[in-house]
Amino acid sequence: MDQIIALAAENLLSPIILFFVLGFAASVARSDLSVPEAVAKAMSLYLLFAIGFKGGAGVAEHGLDQTLILSLVAGVLLSFTIPVVAFYLLRVMSRLDVTNAAAVAAHYGSISIVTFVAGSSVLQSAGLASEGFMVAVAASMEAPAILVALWLIAKNGPGEGQRMDSALMREIMLNGSIVLLVGSFLIGVITGADGMAKIESFIVAPFQGVLCLFLLDMGLVAGRGLRSSKGVLTPGLLAFGVVMPLIGSLFGLAAGLLIGLTPGGTTLFMILSASASYIAVPAAMRVALPEANPSVYLTLSLGVTFPFNLTLGIPIYLAIARAATGG
């Protein structure tokens, strides 16, 4: 417990958290501070490129671990399972109808790559290594939850019927983030240490700084979202936004322990399971479930769960993973 508190305290005073808070505060105070859309996109391209490549180069260096396949399978399974849990929990904890509950569930079954990145940087500060292939696991967990959500509606809903067609399927599987993350990962695997030597000073040294600016932007966007969604968050939903990541993290813990990942890898699995998508899934939901209210799922995911994971969640998961793996 002391360890958690110490870690959380240290974490709370790290630049990335403080810049998130700055953005959030600026937005709530209605400052006109803003990051252009193109710049936000550039930073996200950079982060995906860097994290993917580093993961791949890590795999190239340490050799292809047997646990890679197991972890990918586990990732996909979790992304199928967690939304079901989330859905029924939501139906109990809140008054959301089937459509909205399913839409929210899809977000929690999928993952947030920035939470993953922030977690990696906490691991690094703590001096903990992790499996490079966890970025591939992250990619594998993006899409399945969306299918589950649509299935949940078909099963529970009166349902006008949601829209799932091959075009959407392709959009989901080939969305830009996945392609860049997986592509950079593979290029990292192929080019290995040589490739790393060439681009290291681009993807390693400036990484933390870019992450600070990106989190500033996310704070701004999250604050704006919260401001314009007054009344959407019932106490039940709010509680869900904090409880669900904790539950999700336990699924990730189980996976990490069963597969026998390092403490670092287990922590990352917990973070992935605990995090909620706010880029890929919202876009898919707008296409497939236009009746679902975006301010519900965006506010929960970006306004509640993301800050929770960033500040308290990550240190908690790290402490639990360490205790459980004895690492």
């Binding site: 859309e37 006008e160 707008r286 296409v287």
Partner: protein, 103 residues
């Protein structure tokens, strides 16, 4: 100068539906359209702004389409089939065009 009457259709639609809309326009025999970026807006579902956004989820596009009058109904039906369950605004204005042979 010689001008001809035509219709100017402006469709403000969710960015995620943009490619579905343009596909529908093409199959409705529309020969051309132009897409303008949209920066923000407000409606019954609240305010939004593209500033700092990474996801395509919150945002709209504006598709402008100039067509001959006789093709209007086909276009509107195509647009409606896409906009239908989605957020979006469709306006039609009478206009004059140069070089009518192009439409």
């Amino acid at each position: 100068m010689q001008t001809h009457t035509a219709k100017r259709v402006e469709i403000i639609i969710e960015a995620v539906m943009e490619s579905r809309l343009t596909d529908a326009l093409r199959s409705a025999d529309v020969t051309g359209y132009t897409i303008l970026p949209v920066r923000g807006g407000s409606g019954r579902s609240g305010d939004w702004s593209r500033a700092g956004q990474v996801s395509r989820a919150g945002g709209m596009s504006c598709v402008v389409c100039i067509i001959r009058e006789e093709k209007l109904d086909g276009l509107l039906e195509a647009a409606f089939s896409v906009v239908d369950r989605h957020i979006g605004v469709v306006t039609v204005t009478d206009c004059q065009v140069l070089r009518a042979e192009r439409f």
